[in-house]
């Protein structure tokens, strides 16, 4: 690894040398270029970049550079570059759980007061919280994600469930068990699994990390509680009874969708991107329109009957690199990108829900996403994942001790993971 980095540095020098030669030939262009590192999407961020470049009228030009596919690799790349004071990072699309780590390390340029005021107007509470670290806004809220419970109306009806009222995990599990169907949940040993665990713990009234802002050695976990044990019971039961199907231990969001679209699909917790994806499959002829007509949606299942669920919160916020040469311009660009009408347009094209509550009133949004109001409600209830600079250790430690789902035991797993994660944070164990 080190070898590779050094050789890349040498390669970089030669590329620079080559680049200097080429630049000399190009016509002089004094417009500052802002590089926006985006997570892969359907191309919506590139479109927004172009729009804002045009709106800027020569003040700046935004170029998009795409990051790796999964959230952890995005963080790895950004953190490594920022640690090396990379000045090419002007704007970056950040997954909220990793914001505290970057903010704590001083990798994010402070948000100017006027911009902070402008971009936090009419923003969903969960999204604002996810964009902050230690009571201060450190990133610009862009889009806010949450998971819904997607279901087949036929299955819910056969189970006698009234889907206009919130349902519980036990009801959903019983329905799948009785009808010999599979549940779409994310049991893969990856970030998606942490999202599920966290939502269950939070829905049961607990918290994975009790004191997220504490230094590594003093972090206290809240897994050895009734909430932690209840979350473990649900996951263990789904795993052991095969309710997630044979693909559960490797199932991510896309695999859940594939499974849900099959004959055995019943209920699925997943992000709203599945809606345009299912519509696309129908348009391509891979699925029947009758399938789409059978799909329903509701707020995330409850763990305790009568207590509102705390659905997963995700999304993307825009950070400005601390080492950028154009911090002011980058914040101007960020403010342009996150205008409510842009968020609404992005929702329509890419299926990623806005952080701004106003954007949901957009008629096109309401038409394209009949579930827009459920999403807004879900965002109001949503709980973020632990906002600690050591999130990566916590998340991977959970995955290490809670995977595969069938091995989860409410009496042992919460304690085992608490001991393990605490030891990792103290530097006594490898991950």
């Amino acid at each position: 690894m080190r070898v590779r980095r050094r050789s890349r540095a040498i390669a970089g020098v030669s590329v620079l040398a080559l680049g200097a030669g080429l630049a000399a030939c190009a016509p002089a262009d004094s417009t500052p270029v802002l590089t926006w590192y985006t997570n892969p999407d359907a191309g919506g961020q590139a479109t927004l970049a172009q729009q804002c470049t045009e709106e800027a009228d020569g003040a700046y030009r935004i170029e998009v550079s795409v990051l790796p596919r999964d959230a952890s690799s995005q963080r790895e790349q950004l953190a490594r570059r920022l640690a090396a004071s990379d000045s090419s990072i002007d704007l970056m699309s950040l997954d909220p759980p990793f914001i505290p780590e970057l903010a704590n390390a001083g990798f994010l340029a402070p948000v100017p007061d006027d911009i902070a005021e402008q971009v936090s107007q009419d923003v969903a509470e969960g999204a604002l919280q996810g964009a902050s670290w230690g009571d201060e806004l450190v990133t610009v809220p862009f889009w806010a994600n949450t998971q819904l419970l997607w279901y087949k109306k036929s299955v819910a009806e056969a189970a006698g469930l009234d889907m206009s009222q919130p349902v519980t995990w036990d009801q959903v599990m019983d329905a799948a068990r009785d009808q010999d169907k599979t549940l779409g949940v994310q049991g893969i040993k990856a970030e998606a699994y942490t999202v599920w665990i966290n939502a269950l713990v939070e829905s049961a009234g607990g918290q994975i990390v009790e004191n997220p802002e504490a230094p590594a050695e003093d972090v206290e976990l809240g897994l050895e509680t009734d909430a932690g044990r209840e979350a473990a019971r649900i996951i263990g039961e789904i795993g052991e009874d095969g309710l997630g199907g044979p693909g559960l231990p490797t199932q991510d969001e896309n695999a859940s969708l594939t499974q849900f679209q099959g004959d055995n699909g019943s209920f699925m917790v997943n992000w709203p991107f599945v809606w345009p994806a299912m519509q696309g499959s129908v348009a391509d002829g891979a699925l029947d329109q009758s399938f789409l007509d059978d799909v329903g949606w509701a707020v995330y299942p409850q763990v305790t009957e009568g207590t509102d669920a705390a659905p997963p919160y995700g999304g993307i916020n825009l950070g400005v690199g601390a080492f950028s040469e154009h911090v002011d311009l980058a914040y101007q660009a960020a403010a342009c990108i996150v205008q409510p009408e842009n968020q609404a347009a992005y929702f329509v094209t890419d299926g990623n829900p806005p952080a701004s509550t106003v954007a949901y009133d957009d008629p096109e949004v309401q038409e394209t996403f009949p579930m827009a109001d459920v999403i807004r409600q879900s965002l109001e209830q949503a709980a973020p994942r632990p906002q600690t600079p050591y999130y990566n250790e916590v998340s991977q430690g959970l995955q290490e001790t809670w995977h595969p789902p069938a091995s989860v035991d409410p009496d042992r797993t919460p304690q085992k993971s608490t001991d393990f994660i605490t030891a990792v944070l103290r530097g006594e164990r490898l991950l």
Binding site: R2, P246, E428, L430
Partner: protein, 328 residues
């Protein structure tokens, strides 16, 4: 790609038949010509040597230095000297020993299978009719020409429970059914990882063995045949002993390669179900967790393991690198 590699082997064999290089046995006075040749040698090899120092020796030394600190990339101010503390943590952790075990297991199994398969392929290539030889070599070399990440993805999607076709094609095999999730268990995951590794790198070992086969003098074999030796006897008494050096070099190179396996595991399981290998552990610690100190300690230990393997091969199994190149 494949033509490039065949070109390289042709180079190796040409060099070996020429028997190039100064005679190391005769120490006394070098002639002017020998000295000039030695100087030319240094001039030719010098730049490569300097580059190797810059990209190999320097990073290794830096890793050794870094491994003595508690150092997290996102908290550079908290960097503290801990001596051999990181090594204590790593060596006292079951995760390290487990991944060392998995890595060794993968190495032994893949090298054993590849040696047998590779030798068979080398024999086929060696004996093939001249007209077919080019085509055959290209066909055998195709997997080696494919980028490991690409082949890892291809194997992953073939066996994946959602997109794979293996389960439905081989559902008649006992133990395989539509519901078999290959990447959910340790044994099945390792099976796919090893199979993919074997498919990908057998051509390499067969190339090295082919070069060895070419070195076996044809008249020896003919003489044995005239004496009435069976095919098996000729193989065992004439061919194999004559290409022992080539076999040992092939085994050493592949063993070192296999020990550093990363891509296949990273793509297919990312270390789930107890399939974490040493390089993945080092990657996860230094790149994933940004714990430069701990990660460097693992990298250094990985490097030491490689050295130990080299040492065992050269000292105990007496692999003669010079002999394989025909320098003696």
């Amino acid at each position: 790609m494949s033509t490039e590699i065949t070109g390289a082997t042709a180079g190796v064999t040409a060099q070996s038949t020429r028997g190039a290089g100064p005679d190391r046995a005769s120490k006394p006075r070098k002639s002017d010509r020998a000295r000039a040749e030695a100087r030319l040698g240094w001039w030719l090899a010098g730049p490569a040597f300097v580059v190797m120092l810059a990209v190999t020796a320097y990073p290794i030394l830096q890793a050794v230095y870094d491994s003595l600190f508690r150092y997290r990339l996102t908290a550079p101010d908290d960097r503290a000297f801990v001596g051999l503390g990181n090594y204590g943590v790593v060596l006292g952790d079951p995760v390290f020993w487990q991944s060392l075990g998995v890595t060794t297991l993968i190495m032994i199994i893949t090298v054993a299978i590849e040696l047998v398969l590779g030798f068979a392929l080398a024999l086929v290539m060696h004996r093939a009719v001249l007209r077919l030889r080019g085509l055959l070599r290209t066909a055998i070399l195709v997997p080696y020409g494919i980028i490991t990440v690409v082949s890892a993805f291809a194997w992953f999607y073939a066996f994946d429970i959602n997109s794979g076709y293996v389960n439905s094609w081989f559902s008649w095999v006992p133990g395989i059914s539509e519901d078999l999730n290959w990447f959910a268990g340790t044994g099945t995951s390792l099976f796919v990882i090893i199979a993919s590794e074997v498919w990908k790198t057998t051509p390499f070992i067969s190339l090295l063995l082919l070069a060895g086969l070419a070195q076996v003098p044809g008249d020896l074999e003919e003489a044995a045949q005239v004496d009435g030796a069976t095919w098996w006897q000729r193989m065992k008494r004439v061919v194999l002993p004559n290409m022992k050096a080539a076999i040992m070099v092939a085994v050493l190179f592949r063993a070192l390669d296999a020990f550093r396996i990363f891509d296949n595991v990273f793509i297919m399981t990312n270390g789930a179900n107890g399939t974490t290998v040493l390089s993945l552990l080092a990657y996860r610690t230094s790149i994933g967790r940004l714990e430069i100190g701990l990660g460097s300690a693992i990298s250094v230990l990985l490097f030491l393991c490689v050295i130990v393997i080299c040492f065992i091969a050269i000292k105990i199994f007496k692999v003669d690198l010079a002999g394989a190149r025909g320098e003696k």
